[in-house]
């Protein structure tokens, strides 16, 4: 008689999953047997189960491949450069912005502020009125960062003279770009305008950038960002709304090289001080690291995995691996959070920025459980942080073995948002973010959390159904 595998169950400790009546789970638990009582809901009636595309592609296999590529990615900070010289397609009259495409007319306050500020910083306009006129004219071409292998936090404005980090994905050879982070408060990316904003940008261009650039040139292997993100997740960061540990790790990694290549001790001190005083300095590295990991996963036929999630403050947009050129957009949502003194929800601009590239890559809001301190933005508890990440596993295809969460027994972070699962469960991706003032020129007013809007996923699913 051959041994059937039913016999393999005999004698083993039972571990039960209960789907349905909770009383059944309680009985099992009362016997000291581990049980997970699924919080089951009837499936949405109108959501068919997609398994194979019309052209015969096995969707599960396509998603496996998409996630394999994301997880294989090894983003390394290799060098820096000036936007006009290094970003493909960039030119003297081009301004890049966060999120899906948007015209000047539809741009939100902070993006307009950042565009006008950038024009003044570039010397293309002499004051705000002048800048507004130029910005509305056809002399300026707007383009999403995502169309140029770039990402930008909040307004995400990149103008030709801005220095950018260059991140290379060593596994695939592709590159991604992002500006240097200015710090918090009244800053360009939150739509801040004024002499102090331009002066800081100038200093970053003429002092910070050359110092960092020299230091990087002395490091032939660059700085491994994947490993730095992985470490920061073990130190209380989720690398979107909290980058304190990662910024410290970065400073530790580049510190000796900065010192060795420094030409002036006072400049060295200023650079170190600037990075040290900006807990979000690493955000502008965690974002392009994500972008560099996601791009090789684009273009897998049949894949239902999200490879871009981005907001311009007016619209929220997603793109899928199987349709990398197509945006699915919906109005950007309202952020739930804590405000700086004198500001309230009434001052808040809708959700904005390319920083959701972190959630798309498997950290940020997906890794909330790694960063319990974040939950204070919404008056939550560490338990809420755990629950958030556990819930995100419902809508992701995979778990990222490089990015792990100590509090979940080093389980990999939820990675690869699957539009099908979002539709089947009705669970929307968690996003952690800063909040910009809705008027141009003011800047950051708070931070908080929200969920991605359902409509992008509904529209994408409609197209997938016929794919």
């Amino acid at each position: 008689m051959s041994e059937t595998t039913i016999n393999n169950l005999f004698g083993k400790p039972l571990s039960v999953i209960n789907v349905g009546l909770s009383s059944m789970a309680q009985s099992v638990e009362a016997q000291g047997t581990p049980v997970i009582d699924v919080d089951w809901r009837p499936p949405a009636e109108s959501v068919p189960r997609l398994r194979v595309t019309r052209s015969g592609v096995d969707i599960e296999a396509a998603n496996d491949e998409t996630c394999r590529r994301i997880k294989q990615g090894r983003p390394v900070l290799v060098s820096m450069g000036i936007a006009r010289d290094v970003i493909p397609g960039m030119h003297e009259r081009m301004i890049l912005h966060a999120g899906p495409p948007v015209s000047w007319e539809r741009m939100c306050g902070p993006t307009r502020g950042a565009v006008m500020g950038a024009l003044i910083y570039e010397g293309l306009a002499k004051d705000e009125a002048d800048a507004a006129k130029l910005a509305a004219s056809s002399a300026i071409e707007y383009s999403p960062c995502h169309h140029h292998h770039a990402v930008g936090p909040m307004a995400g404005v990149v103008s030709p003279s801005m220095p950018v980090f260059i991140i290379e994905n060593k596994a695939f050879g592709n590159r991604a770009f992002c500006t240097q982070n200015e710090g918090l408060g009244k800053v360009l990316r939150y739509g801040g305008m004024g002499p102090e904003v331009y002066a800081r940008l100038k200093w970053m261009e003429t002092t910070l950038y050359p110092a960092l650039d020299r230091a990087l040139q002395s490091l032939p292997d660059g700085i491994d960002l994947r490993s730095m993100i992985a470490q920061a997740l073990h130190m209380g960061d989720e690398c979107h709304n909290r980058n304190r540990a990662a910024t410290s790790l970065f400073l530790r990694a580049i510190g000796p090289a900065l010192a060795r290549t420094s030409r002036d001790n006072e400049v060295l001190a200023q650079v170190i001080e600037f990075i040290d005083r900006n807990d979000h300095f690493f955000l502008n590295l965690s974002m392009p690291a994500g972008k560099a990991m996601l791009e090789p996963a684009e273009g897998i036929p049949g894949s239902t995995i999200v490879t871009v999630m981005a907001r311009n403050g007016t619209d929220f947009g997603i793109r899928l691996s199987s349709m990398p050129e197509r945006w699915f957009t919906a109005p950007a949502g309202k952020v739930q959070g804590l405000y700086f003194p004198q500001f309230t929800e009434a001052d808040a601009n809708p959700d904005i920025g390319d920083s959701t590239v972190t959630e798309t890559s498997g950290y940020g809001g997906m890794a909330m459980a790694a960063a319990p301190a974040i939950t204070k933005f919404v008056g939550g508890t560490p338990q809420l942080a755990l629950k958030t990440t556990l819930e995100m596993y419902e809508i992701t295809h995979d778990e990222h073995e490089q990015f792990t969460i100590p509090a979940l027994n080093f389980r990999g972070t939820p990675c690869g948002i699957d539009v099908r699962k979002v539709m089947e469960t009705g669970i929307l991706p968690q996003i952690n973010t800063g909040i910009a003032h809705k008027q141009p020129g003011i800047g950051m007013v708070g931070a908080g959390i929200l969920r991605a809007p359902a409509r992008c996923f509904e529209d994408a699913f409609e197209v997938l159904k016929n794919q």
Partner: protein
């Protein structure tokens, strides 16, 4: 009397939780009728029948929670308020607790060591969840009813290919590695392995074994349709095979209602493949026209006989024929019968376990000259015309769907059975009422606390009309069950029940009490 409805949009709760809320509300003073249901079309039908379907309820969707109350005007709002309080309490408890994944696949990822899924969602969703569980390599207890035969066949075929158990649909009971799943009792470990197509059959056999001091390796439920021709006994055969090659199992018991001949032949054939002693209990089957069986296959006609034979085989290596009879002397029997009025000629069995109702009828068919009517009869001629009214000798299965739609099963909720008990007590033709009392996980936490007073009340009722009323019964349970067999037995005996050691013994006693002298 007025009717009021409260709709809670997009609020989902499982049906048992809702029925528990409804049960608590219906006990409030001034409340006549209550329904707390999800707004599905089927539930709206129930509301319509109960006269509770308001226009608001009519407009509710399947994802909306509907609370409908019919009550005296002052009690209306109180009941609706209480409903919200009860539901809220449940929600707060859930939020404070551990994270609960929302899908089976997320649960598997959260605990890759999981090996069994217990599925009890509404029938139309159940097959999809069972597929998901099998695909993830989980053994499945599919408690849900209303799964199509095609789904059952396909699920079982796939499960057999992967070497997994697919117990059900409609499988209420399983004991795997000593853990009671669904409606099941706490049974010590021991040498007997059981495969049963009848849920309460598995409970009765396993508890009788436990009472005889014999434990169980595994108790595998297959669901009631497994031995239908179309399903071909797929899980009975898979379970039997597994027990045959299980070194811990020394004696095998198979339990089913009489199956299609071809399926029975297949089961016999498989049983003959191993030398392990196997008790084959096909309820009511006389085995007269069966081909000669190998010596290690022992036929049994009742659950009791199956348990006793298996206990004998396990303990002494030979089949016992003794029954678990409560020895009543002729004198004692005459004492019980004394004082019955001439018109008190009939017995009435009020069962919560379907297989126990069936087993009693099998015995009564031989012991009583008159027919026994039932809503779940052995043959169509004995169909009770109205399930709500007994006639002659009657055996009522209160766990049948006609009684349980929108209501908790009589093993959990005693109300319906108590009402029927009082109705039978009022009938001047009733001589004996027989009850089965099922303990274990899933069952009411303390049935005797409700049935005991009801028995006293029933006897008082008959007494007031100048009659005595005989109550007999048995308890399907063990001392290790949460309700404790001895505690339940004491309470029922004190209330006036003549307690027998098995359902079969109770059925025999009931028959002797009404049989012509």
């Amino acid at each position: 009397m007025a009717i009021k409805t409260l709709i809670k949009p997009s609020e989902y709760h499982d049906s048992v939780s809702l029925m528990v809320v409804a049960q608590e509300l219906s006990r409030l003073p001034g409340v006549k009728d209550v329904a707390v249901v999800m707004g599905t079309e089927a539930n709206k039908g129930l509301l319509r029948e109960a006269g509770l379907l308001t226009t608001e309820a009519e407009a509710a969707s399947a994802n909306d929670l509907v609370i409908a109350v019919s009550a005296e005007a002052p009690a209306l709002d109180q009941a609706l308020g209480e409903a919200q309080k009860l539901l809220q309490k449940k929600q707060v408890q859930e939020e404070a607790g551990q994270f609960r994944p929302k899908t089976l696949r997320a649960a598997v990822k959260q605990n890759p060591a999981a090996n069994v899924a217990v599925i009890s969602v509404a029938g139309r969703y159940a097959a999809e969840e069972a597929w998901e569980a099998l695909r993830h390599g989980l053994h499945v207890l599919l408690f849900s009813d209303n799964v199509s035969l095609e789904d059952e066949i396909a699920l079982k075929k796939y499960a057999r290919q992967r070497g997994l158990l697919l117990m059900g649909p409609g499988a209420g009971t399983a004991i795997l590695n000593g853990v009671a799943l669904g409606f099941a009792n706490v049974i010590p470990a021991g040498p007997v392995g059981i495969v049963s197509a009848a849920g309460t059959g598995l409970q009765e056999v396993s508890t009788l074994l436990a009472k005889a001091g014999v434990g169980v390796t595994q108790g595998i439920g297959t669901g009631g349709r497994d031995l239908k021709e179309e399903v071909g006994g797929a899980m009975m055969l898979a379970g039997l095979q597994a027990l045959q090659s299980d070194p811990e199992t020394q004696v095998i018991v198979l339990v089913s209602k009489p199956p299609a001949p071809a399926v029975a032949y297949g089961v016999l054939e498989q049983a003959a493949q191993s030398k392990k002693p196997t008790v084959l209990c096909l309820l009511g089957e006389n085995f007269e026209d069966r081909p000669t069986m190998p010596a290690h296959i022992h036929p049994a006609r009742t659950l009791e006989e199956a348990a006793m034979k298996a206990a004998g085989l396990a303990q002494r290596g030979e089949a016992m024929l003794a029954t678990a009879e409560t020895a009543l002397s002729g004198e004692a029997l005459a004492g019980l019968r004394a004082g019955l009025q001439p018109q008190q000629r009939y017995l009435r069995g009020l069962f919560s376990g379907g297989t126990l109702c069936y087993e009693a009828q099998v015995l009564w068919k031989d012991l009583l000259p008159e027919p026994v009517f039932s809503n779940a009869p052995l043959s169509a001629q004995q169909q009770l015309p109205d399930s709500n009214r007994s006639q002659g000798h009657s055996a009522v299965d209160l766990g049948e769907e006609e009684f349980t739609v929108g209501r908790l099963h009589p093993m959990i909720d005693n109300d319906l059975r108590i009402r029927r008990l009082l109705q039978e007590a009022n009938d001047p033709q009733t001589a004996v009422i027989m009850l089965d009392v099922v303990l274990g996980y899933g069952a009411h936490p303390d049935p005797a606390s409700e049935l005991g007073p009801a028995i006293r009340k029933a006897q008082a009722l008959a007494h007031a009309q100048g009659r005595k009323l005989l109550m007999v019964g048995s308890i399907t349970g063990t001392e290790d069950d949460p309700q404790r067999l001895s505690r339940q037995a004491q309470a029922l005996q004190e209330a006036g029940m003549v307690l027998c050691a098995s359902n079969a013994a109770a059925a025999r006693l009931a028959a002797r009490l009404v049989a012509p002298v």
